[in-house]
């Protein structure tokens, strides 16, 4: 096994080459279907890696990613939706925002920051809740956010959803973001910050006895996760061109949990591999669903596979480890 291990620098070069090559190849192919699918997969990777930081590093159990994605998406749409159509589609928008148009990267950043701010406010209240209480509270958060998105129809168009969103999210931009998110989480995990988070996860009481501020670290992981989720949520409508209050819900929360459980809670490489695997798997199953007309099979298979996986390998593929990369 030793020969297979790469130094972190080489692994980083490999990551850049792999993502860069993929982006260039798919972009060059000109095939819209593959472009969309690759974009969605890369966004899934970002979501999974950020959730493995929020949940895996600190031992929390948040299902709240879709809530922050919804916030990020609607905030970004305020700035990227064509100015000419805003007055018609979003009548309740204040004039100051209605006149502004931002390029997507900037708008997505605003969405991410707003989501992170919301994550900070909510996290301050929530991060001390233990496992299933946090899970249920964050599930509740998804429903609260969805309800607001549904009812604030002067800005969100409510249940009708916002259609005709410009497809501004280029594959190269998403590729760059993916690499940045992975590096950020990797650096955090292998710095003293991440080690302190892992200490909290293993034994919060002991970590606190060492002077680690568990609350602050959990909050930080929660806020960073919320920010990245908000950013990803902001990108998604600009890939698929539509956004509705139900776009990001329970199913997404569950699939993200499935990804990080399969990858191993806390393993970044595991999260990346599992995200790619589950994205490819569920996309192929989705095509089966479409040809046979039997919808729902994918989710049943993911759910059953997850239960069986938990029975055989409760720690996921890699546990906390980072396979193929030398970490010490």
């Amino acid at each position: 096994m030793k020969t297979m291990e790469l130094s972190p620098v080489r692994a980083f070069i490999l990551l850049v080459v792999a993502v860069g090559g993929l982006v260039l190849a798919v972009d060059g192919s000109g095939n819209g279907y593959y472009q969309t699918f690759t974009a969605l997969t890369l966004i899934n990777v970002m979501l999974a890696v950020s959730l493995t930081m929020t949940n895996g590093f600190t031992g929390m159990f948040s299902l709240g990613h879709p809530a922050f994605m919804t916030m990020g998406a609607y905030v970004a749409l305020l700035f990227t939706y064509p100015v000419g159509r805003k007055g018609f589609a979003m009548p309740a928008l204040p004039d100051i925002i209605a006149q502004v148009h931002l390029p997507l990267p900037l708008a997505a950043l605003v969405g991410g920051v707003i989501a992170a701010l919301a994550g900070w406010l909510i996290g301050r209240l929530m991060v001390h809740l233990q496992t299933h209480y946090l899970a249920v509270a964050t599930l509740g958060l998804i429903i609260v956010v969805q309800t607001f998105a549904l009812n604030l129809d002067g800005i969100t168009r409510g249940g009708r959803g916002i259609t005709g969103v410009p497809r501004e999210a280029t594959l190269s931009m998403i590729g760059i973001c993916t690499v940045l998110v992975i590096i950020l989480c990797w650096r955090i995990k292998h710095a003293s910050l991440g080690r302190a988070m892992l200490a909290v996860r293993e034994n919060e009481m002991a970590a606190r006895c060492f002077g680690i501020d568990a609350f602050r670290l959990k909050l930080l992981a929660f806020v960073l996760g919320a920010g990245i989720a908000g950013f990803c949520g902001a990108l998604l409508p600009h890939v698929v061109s539509v956004m509705s209050p139900k776009s990001f819900g329970l199913i997404l929360a569950f699939n993200l949990i499935a990804i990080i459980v399969v990858g191993g809670q806390g393993s970044i490489v595991g999260a990346i591999l599992a995200a790619v695997f589950i994205s490819v798997g569920s996309e192929s199953l989705r095509r089966v669903e479409e040809t046979t007309g039997v919808y729902g099979v994918t989710q049943v298979i993911v759910a059953v596979a997850l239960i069986s996986f938990l029975l055989v390998r409760p720690k996921g593929l890699f546990g906390l480890k980072e396979p193929f990369i030398r970490t010490s």
Binding site: L129, Y133, L250, P314
Partner: protein
């Protein structure tokens, strides 16, 4: 009293009863094996579809309908425990939790596949659809039947838990599973029983739900399931009277929110309910009747 007020009180009672019925099972299961069962709400959906099938078949006399649905819910609850949860006994809490979430997703999607995604409308037998006048208010009979049956069930179950040997065993396991096992109590059987009883009550709630609203769909169980969890938190997780009182508190506050605030707020009903959940978890995580546990907050 104005008839509007009476109407709202009856609505609150019947909605609260539905939450209470689901919450009792939730609370029992949590009390015995410390498992938050996300799939519990879906048993309500199963009960509703059983009702639908039995009514549509047209051969079942209406008196036998509730009995068959309750028996079916008992079987379904037990089956879910055998298939999904038996194998994870002793696993860390987080594993059990993910398994219940997976089971819920699997049940919902199986229902979508086999029962179709279209909501179904159906009419209950005439007897259940009668309306009567109560202090000037026009009230559906079923809205009165629901609380009465719920309270009877709650009373029977509480007596069962307090007085019988099996009930005492359940309380012993809830108190200290290890010591209970040393006393010769078979936890496996109790867990099965608790899931099955919870399933029966949830199926009964499903029958009432379909009778009250006349429309069912494969995803109908999820939100009431979560709300039942909220009800158990209000009352104190693991406490049976707590679950019932919590169900009524939730039912009444939801009806009050919709019935007494200007109508433009009624769309925010679910946001209100789950905002309440978050608030309660922060202020009093042990609930009204629960004992404070270190692990929660």
């Amino acid at each position: 009293m104005s008839d509007y007020l009476i109407q709202q009180i009856v609505n609150g009672l019947s909605l609260g009863s539905l939450y209470a019925l689901v919450a009792i099972g939730f609370s029992l299961i949590y009390g015995v094996i410390r498992l938050v069962n996300f799939a519990h709400g879906d048993l309500m959906m199963i009960g509703a579809y059983m009702t639908f099938g039995l009514v549509a078949s047209g051969v079942v006399p209406w008196v036998a309908l509730p009995l068959l649905v309750v028996a079916g819910g008992f079987a379904a609850g037990g089956l879910i425990e055998r298939v999904a949860f038996r194998s994870i006994t002793g696993a860390p809490m987080i594993t059990g939790f993910i398994v219940t979430l997976s089971a819920s997703i699997a049940i919902q999607n199986l229902a979508l596949i086999f029962l179709g995604s279209q909501p179904r409308n159906f009419n209950f037998p005439e007897v259940f659809r009668m309306r009567l006048s109560l202090g000037g208010a026009d009230v559906a009979l079923i809205d009165l039947v629901i609380p009465v049956v719920t309270l009877l069930c709650a009373l029977a179950l509480t007596t069962f838990i307090r007085k019988t040997r099996v009930g005492i065993a359940i309380r012993a396991v809830a108190e200290n599973p290890f010591a209970a096992q040393l006393m010769g109590i078979s936890i496996g059987r109790l867990v099965f029983l608790v899931f099955a009883v919870g399933g029966a009550l949830a199926a009964l709630a499903g029958l009432f739900w379909s009778g009250k609203y006349g429309q069912i769909n494969p995803l109908m169980g999820f939100l009431p399931g979560l709300k039942a969890f909220l009800a158990t938190i209000i009352g104190g997780v693991g406490s049976l009277p707590g679950a019932i009182v919590g169900g009524y508190i939730l039912g009444f506050s939801e009806i009050a929110f919709v019935g007494f605030l200007p109508s433009e707020y009624s769309g925010y009903r679910d946001a209100f309910v789950f905002g309440l959940l978050i608030l309660i978890l922060l202020v009093r995580p042990q609930g009204l009747f629960g004992e404070s546990e270190q692990e929660r907050a």
